[in-house]
Subunit: 230 residues, 4 copies
DNA sequence: AATGAATGAGGTTTCATTCAT
DNA sequence: AATGAATGAAACCTCATTCAT
């Protein structure tokens, strides 16, 4: 089974990240490719530093060491660079690689591995996740993006839950999609709190990552009434 | 026990909503009070309609049928009216009244009532909650506000969990605060999805409120391993 | 003889402070008189604290503990209160009383006494003088006021110089008015530097008043070639 | 010796006009340089016409035939353009060139030449001097600018006085700095009266420049008791 | 006389986007 | 392709003055 995750979408089948993939054709020359890449990198840095709303296009071009006008050779506006930034990071954000435990039929172990993979990915991309949260509140296009990303996770986990129900491992009373939404949401909220909101908190040192994984997994397993663990 | 809830703050004891309570002295005359009230009402309407960022002060004064300058008789800026709007709605948002089941010792029933009360309050104030989510991404002052609001709920529920653990009704392996954060977060995510994000969803009709309450309650109870229910 | 002074006017004969004397009739009731007085006092305090330009009418009414509207019962605008403030202080600013040495024919002693009186008056009213300098740069009406005030001093001193020339005590080569303008200006510049600009200076402690008087007097006497002193 | 002058600053060694020299990097292109220059010229014209306070930024851009926003490409605000205006005129205001009489040891002739040079420079820049007086009353930064400018003159003259004292040509009883402040101030007051205040005066025709120079020089020489001149 | 709320004109400032070089 | 200056719409905010109680 495949667990976790919050308010996002895009399974492997669905047209991935639809609205954001409408990018113009890639630069023809090498120099063009270099400039474009510099802009994307710069944009990510500026967005993560200043937030989407406070980021000015000139900040980005300045950071990329190119002229203000050059921006428009590659992007139509701020939204479009952000799309490029997210697209570039998408791979890592979407597919929290977890090959290891796949081969077992210990549902609990699989769940735990899955949660760990999700949380690690979240931690790795914390600033980007924070950015996405912000943008989603402001730009409908990205609200949709976030929704699809979340949905992808939720569906995946729902499939896992349904499977476990079939195997008699999970409580059959709950609707798999609803349960998945609730539990995936639970994990994503914890991730947000630990890696985004927690960043700025003075209280408490850094989050105990393993404790987080195990608490979340335990609650999830309990919620589905996994049999006889612990 | 007293359950549920997401990213909010301020118990009955703590200085309620600290940063927002720094209000200037109330208007001295009746007319002043009327104008101020009109502005707050107008602001709420405009904020809910256009969002915080797109709301222009002149829209608010226009809606309140007063001159642009009058705004500044009562508020220093957009933030301050929003504070007033939230303050006015605070009562209802903070204390999802649930007197009924208090007297029972049936933990499950109390939990369910508590969740229902929370979700009802969320639904009643859905637009405001959406607004708060948006503003929290943009204005640190309101991020703090949201955090305190969430914390209040989380603490309250953590106390409930600890109590149940003491009575042997809840799983003693989990840290009450962490579990509360996870489960309260789970409920708030569901509420957000149902009443905020769901508003704009085309798919699916209106959310089945009772199903929501019972699913959430069941997962919560399971997660804490309430004994032998259902 | 009667010395000193800067760029101002109003002798005893000329229509004193013409543009400022157009005040409305005094308040009829006792209460009115009290309010008006409070406003003038408050205005002086606010002007001296914030400067003329930064002083807001509401600051003045607040300081006077009365309503904004009440201001217009007594004054048409900011200029008019300032006129009232200056008028009230005029006596002391214009007639640096110096009776003592009058009876002597020692020109040097008279000159010194006169300078001392002028400088003492300037020091006493330093904040008001600073205010006047500021306003004169901004409001033509008060530029004129300052000019008349200066002229009065200059004319008075010019008469003194002419007299001394007649008695053979002062250099006959210079035009009394021009010399008076130059030397009176010299004293006023020193006063401004010592009591206005000097206020904010960190360097040097407070000005040595007596040294100031004697230097200024010596230069003045020398300039007119008073015979054989010192 | 090197005489004259009032409220000014910055000798050849000191960091010249400190607070105003914090300029951003100059425009990179020719067009940029042209626009910037047009703005400075326009600003000077508008300031001299309307005064600093009444000058609106839009007046300046209109006068410079460019868009309102273009202003901010080169200046952050009104203060900054004024700084540019003053900086551009500084050379002429600060170094009233007078090479001619340098080679003589006739102290009186040198003094007279120095005074003439100062007064000529003042007259040439009369409108700017008036502007500086106004701004100094309003913007602390420019008050400081004026102070430094004056100080430079005063120090220069003080050195001259000290030298003459050493040569036995000037009265040794007075402190050179104080005397310089007084006499330099005297000259600047006369200049202000003749070229700034006098502009708007109806009475009297244009000032007799040579009479002004000679009166001021005579009083100055007398004040320091230059021996047996005439 | 006093009160204090209401008014509204108008300047400043920002910054995404365009465009001439 | 790159440059960087020019554009201008739009929103905020101030505060002297008026006016209804």
């Amino acid at each position: 089974m495949d667990s976790t995750a919050p308010e996002e979408s895009d399974s492997e089948t669905a047209p991935p990240m639809a609205p954001l993939s409408q990018l113009r054709e890639p630069p023809a020359t090498k120099r063009g490719a270099r400039t474009r890449a510099a802009l994307v990198t710069a944009a990510r840095r500026v967005f993560e530093r200043d937030g989407y709303l406070d980021a000015r296009l000139t900040d980005i071009t300045k950071e990329a060491r190119c002229a203000a006008g050059s921006f428009y050779t590659y992007f139509a506006n701020k939204e479009e660079v952000l799309a490029a930034v997210l697209l570039e990071a998408q791979e890592d954000m979407l597919h929290p690689g977890m090959g290891r435990v796949q081969a077992t039929d210990d549902a609990y172990a699989v769940l735990e591995a899955s949660n760990r993979a999700y949380l690690e990915a979240y931690r790795r991309n914390a600033k980007l996740m924070a950015l996405l949260e912000q943008v989603a509140q402001v730009e409908p296009e990205f609200r949709e993006f976030r929704r699809r990303r979340a949905d992808a996770f939720i569906r995946r986990n729902a499939r896992g839950i349904a499977e476990l129900q079939a195997r008699g491992v999970a409580d059959r009373e709950v609707d798999p999609m609803t349960a998945s939404r609730a539990l995936s949401g639970m994990v994503s909220v914890m991730a947000y709190h630990a890696f985004v909101a927690g960043d700025v908190r003075d209280e408490g040192g850094p989050v105990d990552f393993e404790a987080l994984v195990s608490t979340v997994t335990r609650l999830w397993a309990n919620a589905l009434r996994f049999p006889g663990h612990r």
